[in-house]
Symmetry: C2
Subunit: 424 residues, 2 copies
Amino acid sequence: MKYSEMDKQALESEKQKCVERLRKYSKDDISLDLSRGKPSKEQLELSMKMLDVLDHHSLLDSESGQDCRNYGGLDGIPEAKRLLAHMMGTHSVNTIIGGNSSLTIMYQLISHGMTDGICGSTPWQEVKGRKFLCPVPGYDRHFAITEHFGFELVPVPMNSDGPDMDVVEKLVSSDDKIKGIWCVPKYENPTGIVYSADVVRRFAALKPAAEDFRIFWDNAYCVHNFDGKCAEIPDIISECDKAGNSDLVYEFCSTSKITFPGSGISAVASSPANLIDIRAFLKFATIGPDKINQLRHARFFRNSAGLRAHMKKHAAIMKPKFDAMYKVLNEELDGLGIAEWTVAKGGYFASYDTLPGCARAVVEMAAEHGVKFTPAGSTYPHGNDPQDSNIRLAPSFATVDEIESAVTVLALCTKIVSIDKLLK
Amino acid sequence: MKYSEMDKQALESEKQKCVERLRKYSKDDISLDLSRGKPSKEQLELSMKMLDVLDHHSLLDSESGQDCRNYGGLDGIPEAKRLLAHMMGTHSVNTIIGGNSSLTIMYQLISHGMTDGICGSTPWQEVKGRKFLCPVPGYDRHFAITEHFGFELVPVPMNSDGPDMDVVEKLVSSDDKIKGIWCVPKYENPTGIVYSADVVRRFAALKPAAEDFRIFWDNAYCVHNFDGKCAEIPDIISECDKAGNSDLVYEFCSTSKITFPGSGISAVASSPANLIDIRAFLKFATIGPDKINQLRHARFFRNSAGLRAHMKKHAAIMKPKFDAMYKVLNEELDGLGIAEWTVAKGGYFASYDTLPGCARAVVEMAAEHGVKFTPAGSTYPHGNDPQDSNIRLAPSFATVDEIESAVTVLALCTKIVSIDKLLK
């Protein structure tokens, strides 16, 4: 029975039960953290053998013949380009390998737009009122980069198959101050949503008012499925080509959640013109990415099949955690009309919505009982969720037992806060 | 006998002999490269055991207890901070670890000045006619960064103990559009000059007109001596403190020429206020540097003594190369009055000066005989050496035999070009 259909007495009795049950969870005894998309120790163990791939006996030449131990090369070695290009579903020729973080490449590109201008356009620093589209809920670190560089962040609602393309098309085609959009096309952070083929093609066919508008296509979870079958979406780069929009997109990926976060390799893929524009500033910004670490990754995985096999091991660890989370959510909250959540089939997150005006209070109450969630609002530009309803769930780092406890606390807090709201 | 004191006949005869000798060197037979400051393969071998330091049995926790395999930490791990701080002669608390290249940190800092402003000052992008001081001869990649960001590059002459401080003091104190200066204080690129204590202290005591003026103190060769005794210079950071100028300097170093170029670790050291300013943009620009590679370096060297012992092995490889170079230069050119060169006691380079107007012709003629030098002019801002006399010598990558041949070609070309000039 929905809470909204219950009378005052029933609600008060229900609240009493929840308060009673919540007493079991005290921050003196428990300290659980579902706030960060960190791989668990068990996942990190999966890549430990990568540390054995190179030793002092190894020949550290790339397949190109280049000595990976020395200076040289802005693009990365061919075997690393191939590995990450194929992971994204594109070609080596479209790909440049970066350092240990794709976020750094994104930051560099926005910074490049600010000071140099994209492909010779007016530097964004000179564009007063510059804007960036932010599908919501989304990834706080994306939003933060553009906030740092003084963009007005324009929220765009998410549907179940991706951003609302009617809104995106209308905004992008009518306002030349809009310079880009943040996208996580597969297993989005935090919704877990996979963009539909139609959404991908509508992105590729955008007709931006600004010549220097770019889609920032962060394919961070492109191979991170839970059930052995990876969602397939059209390759954005070839779709842009087909639509006569070759220069519209920058695509990103990394191995941060495949091998070791912070010690992985990253990549950007784009059109020939964009890659020329990127190399033109990269040659000043770096002596080139870490080729030994590229070699280590390329030899560890060997090829896409090796990578897929590795991701199955991740999935075997991740799936039970998400299952445990959904089980508690369903048992505790199904049919009450006070919370909704997305069911992710990959990635690191799910998105959870309370009744409007409850998210902050729920997160605060959970913290009082020893359970930490991502701060409410952080999935929105400037940390401001106008509905105050969204909470990001990140169960990867915790154990199944911890997740059961943490999500039980989440559910109980949601119930109590919702009842208080309904009784007001 | 000096060429300038020889008569026409003697010069023509001398030229004839040189042409004769140069015939032995044909680009069909030889291909020598003294253009790049690359470690040789023999040097790279010195660090191969670093690849064995971590394997799948290793505990990858930092001494702080942090799991280096996972996300977290903007500053780097304590053992890496200590290693690089002590290498520079400063303290961990002043130090942030970067990625695989100190050049990237320098680029990021200039870029930060451009878009954000240094410590809250006006963004440099808004400063028309912004300038940067470039001691000459100097490092082309330094100059290139500031050229890329639209600075006017102002050359400053080098004395034998560092930049001409009379010039530096006068310029810096009188012009608030001057926002920084590039310095390589030890074994400078390309002169090999070590700054004197007096020069270091005069730098620390500068009274810049611009509040956001910064010294870019690239201590790239701080431990790279040839003869077991490293030149000691005052610690710029504590000197700035003493002078009441704490925020005046950014100091940089890396292991690029200690372990593997491109796969090393780097650092920036500065004042508390500057480090706060740096972290304030770094938190958007990166998920943090590669902690596993930091751990690999820290465990390989253990401490400063381990690092010094390692540098002695580099010196044993480098010294014979520089000795071979000087031997040929002395034998071929001493007393002729047509060339001068610096005698480096560390670093990767020496600086070679022809008669004015000869450097380009010498480099071109050498190339025709199979020997490649750094393009003449590249040690000056915008690649423009107004005297056309400076050539950078980089003997690290070649073998002793190759160096003897290459420097012989250099000497012969210098003689021929000089005679042609004198006979004109």
